[in-house]
Symmetry: C3
Subunit: 327 residues, 3 copies
């Protein structure tokens, strides 16, 4: 996330409040782009359109979350470069979507979302300081920690109501009623895997997300599609339930791992490609593990598997002399 991929974007130079507003809008769009590690406002715009295609509520949530967390960073006087690159926007976007995915959208919920999105900016600053010791990026860890805390807290707060899509606490995952994996499972699962990065679903949304990536970086777009396919095939091969495969649940973390290790942090070589593939396969296993570990709490895995795997593979990489970091 700390790597600047390109400087293509809508940024307007000049002064005055109009230019400032345009600069802020650019930071918000880049914030949406950074959810898939793209410092590119066109990618962010296509991601936003993809979300609105699936749901107006989540489109608004993404806008509110990114705006609040970016504004909080500005208020607290974070170094402007980091704000402009959208580094203080993507966690707010994801926190807002996740809370509205799991909680009924009442008035108090929106206030809760604003508090959580602002909180994600503080957690991001803390994570940047924690991880700089090892020179690894914070990834979406601030989103994961903030969202889990604000979701878990609802168990004690009588005034927020669940939407019943949270995993049922205590019950073992039924892997019994398996459907048969068909071509439609694979096609839907492939694009749902991309859509799930923003908690969305649907082939149209998945295709728009892929387009956003391709506009920003062809290598990132290709990595994302191969990542989604890899996650799906691992889940299928290990006997995961068909509805979980079709929904893209095993795909979205693998998508992010494939983008990060296949297209962002390493220079291309066959070794680095094999390393990224191993990480992408491992991500599907870690997703299964994290989702089982959080089951007794009734909590979802979110993008924690992606964060853990990419941290481990980046931390390890300097010891492996066959790998070269991206310049």
């Amino acid at each position: 996330m700390s790597v600047r991929l390109s400087s293509t974007g809508l940024a307007v130079s000049g002064e005055g409040s109009l230019a400032q507003a345009a600069g802020f809008l650019d930071a918000v769009l880049r914030g949406l782009g950074q959810v898939m590690l793209q410092n590119n406002s066109y990618a962010g715009l296509l991601f936003l359109i993809g979300i609105f295609c699936h749901s107006t509520l989540f489109g608004l949530a993404a806008l509110v979350g990114t705006t609040v967390s970016t504004a909080a960073a500005k208020l607290l006087a974070v170094e402007p470069d980091q704000v402009c690159d959208g580094l203080f926007g993507f966690n707010g976007a994801l926190v807002a979507i996740a809370l509205l995915y799991f909680l009924h959208p009442e008035g108090l919920t929106w206030a809760y979302v604003v508090l959580a999105a602002a909180g994600s900016t503080i957690v991001m600053a803390a994570m940047l300081r924690l991880t700089q010791v090892w020179k690894v990026p914070a990834l979406t860890a601030p989103f994961v920690f903030t969202a889990l805390v604000f979701l878990l807290a609802c168990a004690r707060f009588g005034r927020l109501h669940s939407t019943d899509v949270l995993p049922t606490a205590g019950l073992p995952a039924s892997t019994a009623v398996e459907g048969v994996v068909s071509l439609s499972t694979v096609v839907e699962g492939l694009f749902n895997g991309l859509a799930q990065v923003f908690f969305q679903s649907g082939v149209v949304t998945g295709v728009l997300f892929a387009l956003g990536l391709l506009v920003s970086s062809r290598r990132a777009g290709l990595a994302a599609l191969l990542g989604s396919l890899t996650g799906l095939l691992v889940a299928w091969g290990m006997g995961a339930a068909e509805p979980a495969i079709r929904s893209g649940a095993f795909g979205f973390n693998s998508v992010l791992t494939a983008i990060a290790l296949g297209a962002v942090f390493f220079a291309f070589s066959w070794t680095s490609a094999a390393y990224a593939l191993l990480a992408t396969i491992t991500t599907a296993v870690v997703f299964a593990a994290v989702s089982a570990a959080l089951q007794p709490l009734g909590m979802p895995a979110l993008t924690l598997p992606f964060v853990l795997v990419v941290w481990v593979f980046l931390l390890a990489s300097p010891l492996f002399r066959n790998l070269r970091a991206a310049s």
Copy 2:
């Protein structure tokens, strides 16, 4: 905790075993003061009186815990300054009170308390080295980790018996039977929030704790009262159960956060006051989350929410150029 607030105290200079004993007593009292981040032996004395007002057992536990952990630090030849400031006492005090709060006070329990209090000194030294990389204090993390380990272990040890005040494992928190929040809920909750910092309750104890803080630092005393009130109001606003609000359960972590961020680690400004308020509100949410997360294990949240929130807000602060550390 690593900040020395003042050097007022009972320390006696001079030599001989009497002076050594007085020095040790001073370190023990400062250790009790450090539970609320006050390096002040008068504050520690008032806290101790407050505990004895509520319960002789817990007063003795606090004395034994602080003495054992301070003596362990002396035996292992920790740098004398840190011992004198009470930095190796406060975790032992809290460990001893917590174990006697949750376990029947039999002979074996006291041996267990001594082992745990000595252990807290080793965990404190380890935490000091871990956290010095980021220049943040260890806070009460050594207490939290030591107490959770020694409480969890009882599940496998047939000879230690629970006092049945541990949260019931596996059962969802009943938020159904809510009483009505009245003025007495607010007044009792306000002072119980202070008393709960040492696992005590009662308005008299809460008032004595507030006096101890005011003697050491008026800003700390004010911050503590406002912190307790904030925690209580957030819990009320979010629909927490009335008995939980009255008991001060949502207050004591907020008290500690308010003292740390409102009166110890930052120079006063309206930005730093707003930052401390945001942290204090967040602490109530994190308390709800941590207590829900530990429910399947039947474990209490202790002061973990305070530790997590203050770590995050301190780690983040150097990136926010509007905040200034206390000189």
Copy 3:
């Protein structure tokens, strides 16, 4: 683990593929020795014989796991010295044994074991970078994290089947039906404690492991036996169940702690011996705590208690001026 204990071993100097194969075999045997912190291929050979005495399956698993993780390190071009010392072998050995202990040995399970053993090499490299900030060794943390992830993931994967020796999730540990601790409990428990380091049992295997240690370092062998005895006595004194005591469950983490702190990382003195004893006692308590904490997930404690205790005691040691690191 990063301390080189001795350079006795089978390493053959010279060139050509035969010498390379001999060098690789030496690295594999040292990898097995490193499970008990011995950089000594004779120790590794005796450990391997001890495993085969108990079970051919686990003997093969140990060989496959060590070979795969060592080969992965070679492929990724890790610094040769670390590979030769077996630092990239011991986690693979333990991961392979643990997975085959808890999962039916079908074809897919072996593929899963190979993936996990290779993964342990990446986790080891990551842990080495994480822990070098504090100059503490990674110990068996890579094994613990890799094995827990790959075991937890099985809950979502229909094609891997449990061997039913995993702890039953959700049920409280029955401490009710206690047998009486007799001399046979103590003798069997003592050697089972050593055997359990590799998930084995039986007095013969325990004796062979003790011999392997004594060949490498008489101090390590003595520490291991005293460690197993200490863990057993603590468990007995606290009222743990007789079958758990006899099985060595409370011993194997204490064995490893006793070797690490009693015979590897500190120069001998009565203070360091007392420090190691305190750590060994604490390890039995932490084992009880970790095994209770992982019960709701149906996961075993593995060697996590050893890792946590040794990390804390090593991190803390520089603040204790009465302790001296091994030269």
